[in-house]
Amino acid sequence: MTEPAQAALFELVRELKMGENHFRDIVDWIEEISLRDGMEVHEILSRDSISKISSDPRLGRSDKLKRVKEELRRLRFPRLARLEQEIQERIRLLKLGPEIQISVPPGLEGGVLMVQLKSASYPGLKGLVEELGRLVEREPLKEIFDFLGGERV
């Protein structure tokens, strides 16, 4: 690693005071972005989307770390991140109440949609099942399966 790269990484570690596991993730991702995009490490870290987070005085250390990691993950896995975002948007479009939760596995591994129903009564559950029956006919839900099935990568 070049001197400017080491200096940029050191500055990030000093600012975010991260533990070893976070540090490893971040270094791996930065090195892989660097190799893929032909960019120097310090060029990646000085991108606006990263530097704005790490220098934002309104954010605490753990929030900064979380957001920097999210941003680096998005840069490292752009299509995965976009797909996850598309799926989350479709879930939002369904406007689900708190009794029905729809989620996908981390990293989309498993290819399944998970549905959770919460009910304290039989009539309540029956209502949720009917609502679910209507939901499965809606376009955003069908689109989620297209995303999971590799048709829209």
Partner: protein
């Protein structure tokens, strides 16, 4: 493909009686041979910490195999398995693919081991196959070495093909990235030997499959084997995703089917690039400029990193489409993938490993 030339050959005393030794002597008259009593000690003493993998590939160690030759393929935890047996006639490989799992699996291996007691291997296979005549076995030799890369020098296949060709309940698979098929062409495999190639576009071969045969050399070797009466197979594994991969892989499939008679193809398999985190660290050290690790890979439940599922399912479906366009009926399966991925790609998953194994041994009847 470049010829293989070891720097030295270490021979365990007793192995000098074997046909493998005689073949090696003939193949490498200029290489020093050292006869030793205790090969483990001798080879380890010469090993070193600096890229011992690369050094080990140039030191050939002829020794007796202790223990069983035949083992059930371990597969990968939680993945659909094809019920395969492996027989190890050698350990380590003269080729040097960037992604090869032997870099981790055999990390401390000081040499490229070749086993001299082929007669024991044949006797063990004979016991297994004759005791279970009603079961059909698929046995492969390419798990921890390439099946044919060493063939011109050791002549292993010439020793075993006549035996396996006579077995009514077994298919022997020789899996390779080489074009070293000359010694096979004189035998009649009687429909019981499949020679299969791990195939990738030339771009991937040049960047990451070092010391292997080119795509054209592999295809030419497959054609020669087909003409000599062998069934052939192709493993599109590991499939690598990069800008322009679709065009390269589609063209590769078209070239294969333009040359090979699809009725002589026993099977095709597909699997994407995968590695454990441990292997990833080794790949970075040994091949720092490889682009393989820049793909969008995530950690899967079996501990291996693969392209995230929708991405690799999309890759498999595209490949399957190109294959089906060339041959609607050729048998295609996935290697080390989950039931969910099978269902997304094919619309079904084998109910158990026996079902997939039976479908694969079904080629015994064609």
């Amino acid at each position: 493909m470049e010829p293989f030339l070891p720097q030295e050959v270490i021979v365990e005393r007793g192995s000098e009686e074997s046909p493998i030794f005689r073949n090696l002597r003939k193949a490498f008259p200029q290489v020093p041979f050292t006869l030793v009593e205790r090969p483990e000690w001798a080879a380890e003493a010469q090993g070193g910490p600096v890229d011992s993998m690369s050094r080990g590939k140039r030191r050939l160690w002829l020794t007796r195999h202790r223990g069983d030759f035949l083992k059930k393929c371990p597969g990968s935890e939680g993945q659909v398995c094809c019920n395969y047996f492996v027989v190890n006639f050698a350990s380590n490989c003269p080729m040097d693919c960037s992604y090869c799992y032997l870099q981790d699996y055999l990390a401390d291996n000081p040499a490229l081991k070749v086993f001299s007691n082929v007669d024991d291997l044949i006797a063990e296979a004979d016991r297994l196959l004759s005791r279970h005549r009603k079961f059909l076995f698929r046995i492969g030799t390419g798990e921890i070495t390439d099946s044919l890369a060493l063939e011109p020098y050791i002549g292993f296949c010439s020793e075993v093909i006549p035996f396996f060709a006579e077995q009514p309940n077994c298919l022997l698979e020789l899996k390779t990235k080489s074009d070293r098929v000359e010694s096979l062409l004189g035998f009649d495999p009687k429909g019981r030997v499949v020679v299969s190639w791990s195939m990738n576009p030339q771009r991937v071969i040049e960047k990451d499959e070092h010391q292997t045969a080119s795509f054209d050399e592999r295809l030419g070797a497959a054609y020669r084997c087909q003409e000599a009466g062998y069934k052939v197979g192709f493993h599109f594994d590991p499939m690598v995703e990069y800008p322009g991969w679709e065009e390269d892989y589609r063209e590769m499939v078209e070239k294969i089917f333009a040359v090979i008679d699809s009725r002589r193809i026993a099977w095709l398999s597909m699997g994407v690039l995968r590695q454990t985190p441990g292997l990833k660290r080794i790949m970075r050290e040994r091949f720092p400029s490889t682009q393989l690790l820049s793909g969008e890979q995530v950690l899967c439940p079996d501990g291996k990193m693969r392209y995230f599922q929708p991405l690799r399912v999309g890759m498999y479906r595209k490949m399957l489409g190109w294959i089906r366009r060339a041959s609607p009926t050729v048998f295609v399966y996935l290697c080390m993938e989950s039931r969910e991925v099978w269902e997304q790609v094919f619309g079904f998953a084998p109910s158990c490993e026996k079902e997939l194994g039976n479908q694969l041994t079904g080629v015994l009847s064609f």
